[in-house]
């Protein structure tokens, strides 16, 4: 028995199903023809060997599946979406898309789409996962994915690089990406005068408006369109994408590293985490408010899957650029990615994808309580919803960081329950305390919390 992947249904020739933890791609006759053509090329062997294409092996289709053929792929440790990526991640994904298209054309193939949803990050590197995207190139055909490439890769990158507007909220609101018309409206006069925006943005917007719904593929073929024209376009696009820079610096990173408490507490927090990993046998760690991903990386070094979530793009981008083995997620934890897309199931929300067996919330909850005005009891409810052990750092009201966060707030504007005794009393409704450790001068405490039901089952405590 298998279950369909709710995010894989748009291409009738190829879609993903799951059989327990096995990932199976079902192909129809057209998908099978594409797979046979791809598998016969040196390009496929090379791109799979160097990790740019996901590994694939042909298997017998499940007996109850209506499919001409089936492939099996490795299970990805974590799935993230472009609205959770940093600028450099989307740019690297765009370059991978262009490189694979150029190489597949040289091998007599083409790619039927060009969307970042076909790319995932594994061990900090982009990997193309949609093997069904390749099919034999028919002479005279244009690149069907060009418009999609501009909307989902190029325009979001231009939006940030040229207009200083973050692309993530846009892609989260509209996964199809900005249209050429939207993009033109976002750009100022001088930005519209760049050769790249004149062509890809303004001219495309104008031609799309004038020619909507007109059949032109036959005319292009008759007029002599060929793969060399696609390759010339792809080469120029590559140069353009490579040159896009968002001006994001690691200033935030440097500022964070220089905080007094960071250096002071880092080793203690690391030991507390490593001890929990060893005792609990955790395999999937979700680091909430991961900052420079130090703790997530230390967890990954122990061989577990680590997902690091933070809302600071410059810091996460710097982590990505230096190379990391953790799955990076750019997300505001007071408004994490929801379930969305078709039937609200196509793109599951962040918590549903993470499925952790250990949550780390170091240096986080005081920001939620004092900056985002989330009541302390609601923060604990949220942590309990993960239904797994939690390592949380409590920061007392007299901590110097809390003083900074509340500099412009009066007592009446703050939620009750912020004292350590009140916090401990509240957490015992849903957790037992397995261990604690006091940090620095005593205003910060680490707690290893076990969910009440799990703790009762495992240890019989409380």
């Amino acid at each position: 028995m298998y279950r369909a992947d709710p995010g894989s249904f748009r291409d009738p020739a190829s879609h993903i199903v799951f059989a327990d933890d096995r990932v199976i791609r079902l192909l129809d006759e057209r998908g099978l023809a594409g797979w046979k053509a791809l598998a016969a090329t040196d390009f496929f062997a090379k791109a799979t060997a160097d990790g740019r294409l996901i590994a694939s092996k042909q298997i017998e289709p499940p007996p109850d599946a209506d499919a001409a053929a089936a492939l099996e792929h490795p299970l990805l440790p974590f799935v993230s979406y472009p609205y959770e990526w940093t600028f450099s991640m989307l740019r690297d994904a765009a370059l991978l898309q262009l490189d694979l298209l150029a190489e597949s054309l040289a091998a007599g193939l083409t790619m039927k789409d060009a969307t970042p949803y076909n790319i995932q990050f594994v061990e900090g590197r982009p990997v193309f996962i949609d093997i069904g995207s390749f099919e034999p190139y028919s002479p005279g055909e244009p690149w069907i994915g060009y418009r999609q490439f501009t909307r989902q890769f190029l325009f979001p990158l231009m939006m940030r690089a040229y207009a200083g507007v973050p692309f993530q909220p846009w892609l989260r609101g509209n996964p199809e990406g900005p249209s050429a018309g939207d993009m033109r409206n976002l750009l100022g006069f001088w930005q519209r005068m760049r050769p790249s925006t004149l062509l890809h943005v303004s001219l495309q917007a104008r031609m799309e408006a004038r020619m909507s719904g007109t059949a032109v593929r036959g005319e292009l073929k008759t007029a002599g369109f060929n793969a060399d024209l696609i390759l010339a376009n792809v080469r120029k696009l590559r140069k353009l994408v490579e040159g896009l820079d968002w001006g994001g610096s690691a200033a935030g990173w440097i500022e964070y590293e220089s905080c007094q408490h960071v250096g002071r507490d880092r080793e203690t927090k690391t030991r507390f985490l490593e001890s929990a990993l060893a005792d609990l046998g955790a395999t999937r760690v979700l680091d909430l408010g991961a900052n420079d991903c130090h703790f997530a990386e230390r967890a990954a070094a122990q061989g577990v899957t680590a997902v690091a979530v933070d809302g600071d793009e410059p810091v996460l981008d710097a982590v990505y650029q230096k190379g990391t083995s953790v799955s990076i997620v750019l997300s505001d934890l007071t408004n994490p990615s929801p379930s969305q897309g078709w039937a609200e199931r196509e793109r599951p929300g962040l918590a549903g994808r993470a499925r952790p067996d250990l949550v780390v919330a170091y240096g986080l909850i005081h920001h939620l309580i004092y900056t985002a005005s989330i009541p302390p009891s609601a923060v604990l409810d949220w942590l309990a919803d993960f239904e797994c052990p939690v390592l949380v750092e409590f920061v007392a009201p007299d901590d110097e960081m809390v003083a900074k966060l509340t500099a412009n707030k009066v007592e009446a504007e703050l939620h009750p329950g912020r004292d350590q005794s009140e916090f401990e009393s509240a957490l015992r409704k849903q957790f037992t305390v397995a261990s604690t450790e006091t940090l620095g001068e005593g205003s910060r405490t680490l707690y290893r919390l076990l969910p009440v039901t799990a703790a009762q089952g495992a240890t019989g405590r409380e």
């Binding site: 748009r10 291409d11 009738p12 020739a13 083409t110 039927k112 789409d113 099919e135 028919s138 055909e141 244009p142 690149w143 069907i144 994915g145 060009y146 418009r147 999609q148 501009t150 050429a180 062509l199 890809h200 001219l203 495309q204 104008r206 031609m207 799309e208 408006a209 004038r210 020619m211 909507s212 719904g213 007109t214 059949a215 032109v216 593929r217 036959g218 005319e219 292009l220 073929k221 008759t222 007029a223 002599g224 369109f225 060399d228 024209l229 696609i230 010339a232 376009n233 120029k236």
Partner: protein
């Protein structure tokens, strides 16, 4: 001819030829011209058809 599940956008398809460089601009011009000629032929055919329709199929004299 491939049949994609993706709407490639007519204007974006023609634009691709232009983006391919000098040779592509020629291709785009030829495709545009062919489309224009096809449109004209269609228009002419449509005018002739209209002319035929203008002849009443059934006498309407009372």
């Amino acid at each position: 001819m491939l049949f994609g599940y993706l709407d490639a956008g007519s204007g974006s398809l023609i634009l691709q030829a232009i983006l391919g460089g000098a040779a592509g601009i020629l291709v785009a011009f030829k495709a545009w011209k062919a489309r224009l000629m096809g449109k004209r032929a269609l228009t002419e055919a449509g005018t002739e058809a209209e002319a035929v329709v203008e002849e009443p199929a059934v006498p309407t004299d009372s």
